[in-house]
């Protein structure tokens, strides 16, 4: 496939005796939103962790633009253009939203440590530049009013958006979102779906999405992988998945689907 | 034990009370480690000096002028010592300084004393404190007791000549300048006399367990062990050597005296131990002084108390000799041309080329049934009669 961005092959992760992910295979093409769903503990987050370099896979390989990135460090993977958010929010202490988002630009600084010591003018120029860019992304996730407030004392739902803004500021090609819909009410979920769609179109991102909110998944994803006990039990379009009896039994349950 | 040296009687010195022209006090600096690891040794010097000054002041001072001891803490730290010394001289206006029994500080302040032009009489035993280069002393640095090398050589000479030993082991604290400063001359003299150093073990500042080193020594054919160090280590070395069945002659330094036969060590462990000391504690004048000291301060005198008394004595003698002209320059000159001084350690003069005492022997002691026994006066060249 020509525009295939991300490809994982036989990705496996074991924690002691527990096989959290068993031979997961999948791809993500340019300008595509795919989802991963599955019961709790099925290994979804673990897959993201391996793609983003947080955990090394036990076996298997990860390719990004046909480059083997399996053994890359997380920051290297970020530099290549893969950004992510965390399911358990990870923001920085005593930092404003703006500063938090700015961290994503650090590695792009055009100057060295020595230059900063001598207060080279480039430093302040760069700072001004990224301030503008960061504000742009903060605006995008509707956090403009909170830009100067401490990120960690924001309410839970807004903290998730800070995470998204930070990931966006990496200016990635691939965005990995881990349960962005958690802790939002139905109205807010609707806004989130719109936001993601807008990002998808405006920034021409490719997105891999994990969520338990079916409205999010079904409205956004072209293709869905279903994980259960580490194994991929099914995959397909939203319609196929919604009607797959295996998925209904393992994950969706009757009521939700009918609702 | 014979009574060898005579002890100065302070009262007689201060008889001549001059009519009060200017009752300005004479300030004597006291640069000591009050809060650092050597505080006990430094403290002993301070106590001796304070006692002496109390007495002199009680008797009307020197040439009618009262004395004041201005003590500053070094915390055993060179930078603080330099600050404190500068402060004494520049701010407190002292004319002469009583130095600490810590060689590192002595070495460090030697060039500073040159700059400040203030005489310092101290107990820093390392040659580098008083000798600038062979033949030339630091102009303002004076030592009031035997140097480390003389002490080390004396016990070495005694061991070789009187005890007839030839094979030695050493156990040295390589972090402690005093310990190192004793060991090198000891080894040199042993070798010069045809002896052999068969084991050179070392330990570090915080060490309290010497079994590994002692076990090693036990594995050699050493006949004697020289273990120069600070007081806290000494009973431990003696006890642990005894435990391990290390049956050799134990040769100590002047730190053994107030500690090694403390009631806390098995008397058996201290048998066969010899050490040099600055004074003969069995001498009545010395023991009288010790009793006075104990009565005044409720603590036993250390080696540094006796030599500290001599150090302040030398300073006072020089001040007295200066008459009305109590200045650094005069005191330095008087110290350089001091002549005989009668102190607790004996009668001695200062060598103008080394600024160290000349003709001062070391008292060799042994321990019998947990009590010190004076044997004889000794120098690196042999016994003194």
């Amino acid at each position: 496939m020509g525009n295939e961005l991300l490809r994982v092959e036989n990705l496996t992760k074991r924690f002691g005796g527990l096989c959290a992910v068993d031979c997961f295979c999948g791809t993500l093409e340019a300008n595509q939103i795919k989802g991963i769903i599955g019961p709790n503990g099925a290994g979804k987050t673990t897959i993201l962790n391996m793609i983003s370099g947080v955990y090394p896979p036990t076996t298997g390989q990860i390719f990004y633009k046909d480059q083997d990135i399996t053994k890359f460090q997380p920051h290297k993977i970020n530099h290549l253009g893969i950004a992510r958010t965390f399911q358990n929010i990870r923001l920085f202490q005593n930092m404003t939203v703006l500063e938090t988002v700015k961290t994503a630009y650090s590695w792009r600084a055009p100057y060295s440590a020595i230059e900063t010591l001598f207060s080279s003018p480039r430093v302040q120029k760069f700072e001004r530049e990224i301030e503008e860019k960061s504000m742009h992304f903060i605006d995008m996730v509707n956090l403009k009013d909170c830009a100067k407030s401490n990120a960690q004392s924001l309410p839970y739902g807004l903290q998730r958006r800070v995470e998204i803004a930070r990931a966006l500021a990496s200016e990635p090609t691939v965005l990995l979102l881990d349960e962005p819909g958690a802790g939002l009410n139905q109205t807010e979920v609707r806004d989130l779906v719109e936001l993601i769609r807008r990002l998808f179109i405006d920034l021409s991102l490719s997105i891999l999405l994990i969520d338990h909110r079916m409205d999010v998944i079904m409205q956004l994803c072209e293709w869905i992988y279903v994980q259960d006990f580490g194994e991929c039990i099914s995959q397909g379009t939203p319609e196929q998945i919604q009607n797959d009896p295996i998925v209904i039994k393992a994950y969706l349950g009757e009521e939700i689907n009918n609702a | 034990a014979e009574k060898e040296p005579e002890v100065v009687q302070e009262e007689t010195e201060t008889e001549d009370v001059v009519a009060e022209k200017e009752p300005e006090v004479i300030k004597i600096g006291n640069l000591q480690d009050e809060s650092g690891p050597m505080a006990a040794l430094s403290g002993a010097v301070t106590l001796a000096a304070e006692m002496r000054i109390e007495e002199v002041n009680a008797a009307g001072g020197i040439n009618g002028r009262m004395l004041e001891l201005i003590t500053h803490d070094t915390r055993g730290d060179v930078n603080e010592a330099i600050n404190a010394l500068t402060r004494m001289v520049v701010q407190d206006d002292v004319q002469v300084v009583l130095g600490p029994p810590v060689s590192n500080i002595g070495i460090a302040i030697a060039p500073i004393s040159e700059e400040l032009q203030v005489p310092i009489v101290g107990l820093f035993m390392e040659d580098r404190c008083t000798i600038r280069e062979p033949g030339t002393p630091w102009s303002y640095m004076f030592l009031a007791q035997n140097s480390a090398s003389r002490q080390g050589e004396s016990i070495a000479a005694y061991a070789v000549q009187e005890l007839g030993l030839t094979k030695f082991a050493t156990l040295v604290n390589t972090a402690n300048s005093y310990s190192v400063g004793l060991a090198e001359p000891f080894k040199a003299l042993v070798r010069a006399n045809g002896g052999e150093v068969v084991a050179e073990e070392t330990y570090n500042w915080e060490d309290k367990d010497f079994r590994a080193q002692l076990t090693n020594i036990k594995g050699t054919d050493a006949e004697a062990l020289f273990f120069p160090g600070y007081p806290p280590e000494i009973p431990l070395i003696l006890a642990q050597a005894y435990e391990l069945g290390l049956d050799v002659v134990m040769l100590g330094n002047n730190s053994v005296a107030p500690t090694g036969f403390a009631p806390t060590t098995d008397p058996a462990a201290t048998a066969n131990t010899f050490y040099p000391y600055g004074i003969d504690s069995s001498d009545p004048s010395v023991s009288d002084w010790a009793a006075k000291y104990e009565a005044r301060w409720e603590t036993k005198p250390l080696a540094q108390s006796f030599s500290g008394d001599d150090a302040i004595g030398i300073i006072l003698q020089a001040i007295e000799a200066c008459g009305d002209d109590v200045t650094s320059a005069c005191i330095t000159e008087k110290l350089n041309t001091m002549g005989e001084f009668e102190g607790l350690q004996g009668t001695f003069a200062l060598d103008p080329t080394t600024h160290q005492p000349i003709g001062l022997p070391m008292a060799i002691f042994t321990i019998t049934d947990g009590a010190p026994v004076f044997l004889e006066w000794y120098t690196p060249d042999g016994p003194v009669n």
């Binding site: 997380p74 700015k102 961290t103 994503a104 | 590192n104 570090n204």
Partner: protein, 287 residues
């Protein structure tokens, strides 16, 4: 020499070492317990190069800083990738090893008796200008993304990595700069006290710097420098309390940290802007 200048030189030189600790431990939360060893290395190397080899002062300082940077690089290589507390342990071991080396390599270092006869080359001007330059350098560093990166790493290393920060490289840079600063401070000290001995560079010395940083405020360069001057001066100021001065010194630190758990200055930074603004407003008022 004036007493205050003598004390001042010592404070200035030590404050440069505190600057290093500020970057390393304050900003980045990296606890090096062997930082004083770099001061020792700086001191010994520059002193030996000047006294024994006869190199010019400036060249000797430069060489000692380079050697310390290289050593920091090696130590960092071994310890910055693994868990944080290992860094404390490895640097502690490094410090002990360096001291052992000073003590044992007697023929060159003079062993426990120390290395003396160092010329008095640290002039008051040199010391104070050096401190000013040091502060300027660290200030510049803090105005760049490095400050943000430090805070991010300090609070959540994983998130920082995922945000693209090369954590290892960042820590390495900081460690090397801190080592070089500390080495420089060591050279200044050596040519001020004119005597160096191994004991001066133990872990307790390192810890005093760490205390100073947290006393003044780990997040405030101003605070750290004010704290540094206060605490380095304190032993002199408290001299009148004689034997109790260390107790008092400790008590002051405990009280301040208890009352102000973010340090004396918290995150407050002296900046010229408000001063300028004040000035401007005054002008307006006048006009």
């Amino acid at each position: 020499m004036d007493f205050y200048i003598v004390v001042g030189i010592g404070i200035a030189a030590n404050s440069i070492a505190v600057l290093g600790t500020f970057m390393l431990t304050g900003m980045n939360g990296l606890f090096s317990l062997g930082q004083a060893a770099f001061m020792g290395l700086g001191a010994y190397i520059s002193a030996i190069l000047v006294v024994n080899v006869g190199l010019p002062f400036a060249v000797a300082i430069l060489i000692s800083m380079l050697i310390c940077s290289a050593l920091a690089f090696l130590v960092g290589l071994a310890s910055l990738r693994i868990r944080q507390d290992f860094f404390a342990l490895v640097t502690f071991g490094f410090g002990q090893a360096v001291i052992a080396f000073f003590q044992e390599y007697v023929s060159v270092t003079g062993g426990a008796l120390g290395f003396s006869n160092i010329p008095n080359l640290t002039t008051p001007t040199l010391a104070f200008v050096s401190l000013a330059v040091g502060i300027f350098l660290v200030w510049g560093f803090r105005r760049s993304h490095f400050l943000r990166d430090s805070l991010a790493i300090r609070s959540n290393e994983l998130a920082a990595k995922v945000a693209g920060i090369n954590v290892f490289k960042h820590k390495m840079i900081v460690f090397i700069i801190a080592a070089a600063l500390t080495a420089y401070a060591g050279s200044l000290m050596a040519f001020h006290t004119r005597y160096v001995e191994p004991k001066m560079y133990g872990w307790i010395t390192t810890v005093t710097w760490i205390i100073i940083v947290f006393f003044g405020g780990r997040d405030s360069l101003t605070g750290t420098m004010v704290g540094s001057i206060l605490l380095l001066m304190a032993p002199e100021l408290l001299r009148f309390t004689t034997a109790y001065r260390i107790i008092l010194y400790c008590a002051i630190i405990l009280i301040i940290i208890n009352v102000r758990p973010k340090g004396l200055f918290g995150t407050w930074e002296l900046s010229i802007k408000p001063l300028l603004r004040l000035f401007k407003r005054k002008k307006q008022e006048v006009s």
